[in-house]
Amino acid sequence: MTSKDKDIADEIARAVELVLTERRPSKEFANRFRQLIRNAVNDNYADSDVRSLIDAAPDPYRGDK
């Protein structure tokens, strides 16, 4: 990763943390989300990763917020 890549990745990572701090999702969702964003920026993810993230999202029918 070049220094430019790292700068941009850091910028996006900061945005991710800002959003996660505001939304306070589960630890599992937050971890999966961080990982998926890192992989997406490098164009290295599968649809199943997105599906796993969806499944980890708050479930309104379980009373999650």
Partner: protein, 642 residues
């Protein structure tokens, strides 16, 4: 990712019949291509953009490159280096049909591939709109502040890979759509299913209540009938000659009931052994037993059994087990292994082996029950006869009791029929009684479970939808926040550069929103900004945009300084060289002053002059001498003409 332009070739493109421009090796950082107005600067930039971004041109656009009516086809070839690999992009124009064919050739793969075949992320990024930002048109420079609505934001999104995150939103949407194919996907659909389940549950509750009510009614009727029957017997007994006969009939009834009960109990006992029920059933059980004997033993038990057997000195049949037998037992053990549940199978085998029984006992009991039924019928007839005789003697009270009994019996029959409809569980009985989910508890219960399953499926779909929407919202928010941060970063960098380019003026980018919003202390509105200032803002913005991007792209610009005054030209000329890894400037002779001349002393600059002779032949001449002298000839020509 690193993209560099190595050169390009024209064949039958407007005035250029055959011309190759090579930027050389090592690749110069700055290339100044001097081309007089009208010789193909704009055409070259258009062709470069067309080669890099896959957008089909119209037939009119294709034919606009035609040198004359007799030329059938033309070609433009752009030579690139992408991450160290040489790539050739070919545009082949068919002027007759007005069509364009693209081909790509790469050193790594060799041969020609149809279409534009760049590395995936690069090709995705090179949209026609984005390409305009680094193959930069003079026209765009004039309107850089308005760069077509949301182009600034789009450029930032593309360059800084935010579009990769945006793509995740689309992937999430596609996942949801795939899951929604068979299920409801709306709140309304879910609400409908919830309503249907509620109705089914209500109906089940109603049927269960009805059953209880009928059972109570039946019990009450039976009690009333018993009481009426006692009263009837009392009335009959009031006649002396009938009293004795009645007692005899009742005694017979009790005997029959006792015998029937005993026979039924014995029959139920015998029924536990299916072999005792009938000879046919016994034959079938024996057949099953012989089949089960051939079944393989379950794996786990067999493994233990054979291992233990192999270790023994003697087999269960009494023969001795030597090394050869031991090896054979262990080897063949697996051939006899089956699934688990040895206990069940062995129990079944045992039960079947001992399923021998005498079926005559059942036959005898059935005969006994039949005879008791006949006896009961006869006693009932005798009883009816007694009742009739008493009736003929004339007894109003007995008549009333009899009418009440008939009434209760009718009601009891109705209640029992309704109960059968409510509780019938066998399919043939349900069919005979015309049962459905509205009148039968079993079917209604099944209906409820089906509704619950449908609702569960729908709820899962809705859950997935809500969760997908949540993921999309979070992704969108991340893109928004990242974009804001990156725009601010580009804005700050742009303003830093503007301080250098326009030191005396307080022209700054106030906001990069959908366009560049400028702020100045001395100018009142953006309309007051001169063309030169606009160009300075454009360069500062584009340089800032590209300098931090993970992509190293060349910067190609047409007439970079033509609209700048000489002071700003020098500033721009000082700024631009350091902003891009590769810059290609298409200039006209008048841009030499202030702009081109600032590159003369730079060793990493290359000068090419493209000119057309009196015979219409266009050539490219390398070197600073030709570059500088071309300007002089042009002036002379202008003076002679004037």
């Amino acid at each position: 990712m690193d993209l560099r332009i190595l050169g390009w070739t024209y064949k039958n493109i407007r005035g250029m019949r055959e011309l190759e421009v090579t930027l050389g090796s090592p690749l110069p950082r700055w290339s100044l291509i001097q081309m007089p107005n009208g010789t193909g600067k704009t055409t070259t930039l258009t062709l470069m953009r067309m080669a890099l971004a896959e957008e089909p041109p119209t037939p009119e656009q294709v034919r606009s490159f035609r040198p004359d009516e007799t030329t059938k086809g033309g070609e433009f070839n752009l030579r690139l280096r992408v991450d160290g690999e040489n790539v050739w992009l070919y545009l082949k124009f068919d002027y007759h049909t007005g069509s364009l064919s693209r081909f790509t050739s790469r050193t790594a793969q060799g041969g020609m591939e149809a279409g534009l075949r760049l590395k995936r992320p690069l090709q995705k990024m090179l949209t026609p709109t984005f390409t305009k930002l680094f193959v930069f048109d003079g026209e765009l420079a004039k309107s850089i502040r308005d760069i077509s609505k949301d182009e600034a934001a789009k450029a930032i999104s593309t360059l800084y890979r935010l579009d990769s995150i945006e793509r995740l939103e689309r992937v999430a949407g596609e996942i949801l759509r795939r899951d929604q194919t068979a299920n409801v996907s709306t709140d309304k659909g879910l609400s409908n299913l919830q309503g249907r389940l509620r109705n089914a549950l209500d109906q089940l509750e109603t049927l269960k209540s009805r059953k209880k009510e009928l059972e109570r009614q039946r019990a009450r009727l039976e009690k009333e009938m018993a009481a009426l029957q006692v009263r009837r017997d009392e009335r009959i007994s009031s006649s002396a000659n009938l009293k004795q006969r009645l007692e005899e009939v009742n005694a017979k009834r009790n005997d029959i009931a006792k015998l029937t009960f005993e026979a039924t109990e014995k029959l139920a006992q015998l029924g536990r052994n299916p072999a005792a029920v009938s000879a046919r059933l016994q034959d079938r059980l024996h057949d099953l037993s012989s089949r089960l004997q051939k079944l393989k033993l379950p794996r786990t038990t067999s493994v233990e059994f054979f291992r233990e057997l192999a270790l023994s000195a003697e087999c269960i049949c009494g023969r001795s087990i030597g090394p050869h037998e031991k090896e054979t037992i262990e080897r063949r053990a697996n051939e006899f292994l089956g699934e688990d549940q040895v206990g069940v199978i062995n129990a079944m085998k045992d039960a079947l082996r001992h399923s021998e029984a005498d079926t005559s006992a059942v036959r005898d009991l059935v005969d006994t029950l039949k005879s008791q039924l006949r006896a009961r019928q006869e006693v009932d007839n005798e009883y009816d006869l007694i009742v009739m005789e008493r009736h003929e003697q004339g007894d109003e009270e007995l008549d009333q009791i009899q009418r009440d009994l008939t009434d209760r019996a009718d009601k009891l029959r109705q209640a029992e029929r309704q109960l059968r409809v409510l509780t019938a569980s066998a399919k043939h009985e349900q069919d005979a009684l015309e049962c459905d989910e509205d009148n039968n508890i079993i079917l209604c219960d099944r209906h409820v479970r089906e509704r619950q399953a449908a609702l569960s499926d729908a709820t899962n779909t809705m859950r997935l939808q809500k969760q997908t929407e949540y993921v999309q919202e979070v992704l969108e928010q991340v893109v928004r926040v990242s974009s804001d941060q990156l725009r601010l970063r580009v804005q700050r960098a742009t303003n830093e550069k503007l301080k250098t380019i326009l030191p005396g003026e307080q022209l700054r980018v106030k906001e990069i929103g959908n366009s560049l919003l400028l702020h100045t202390d001395t100018l009142t509105s953006k309309e007051s900004v001169s063309e030169g200032q606009s160009l300075a803002v454009a360069y500062a913005f584009l340089a800032s945009l590209f300098e931090d991007a993970p992509y190293n792209l060349p910067f190609v610009v047409d007439s970079p300084a033509v609209s700048l005054d000489s002071k700003v030209r020098r500033e721009v000329a000082e700024l631009i060289p350091n902003l891009f890894g590769q810059a290609i400037f298409f200039v006209i002779s008048s841009e030499r002053d202030g702009f081109a001349e600032s590159f003369y002393d730079r060793p990493d600059a290359k000068f090419i002059t493209v000119q057309t002779d009196r015979n219409g032949k266009t050539t490219a001449q390398e070197g600073i001498t030709a570059f500088r002298s071309f300007h002089s000839k042009d002036d002379e020509s202008a003076r002679v003409t004037s």
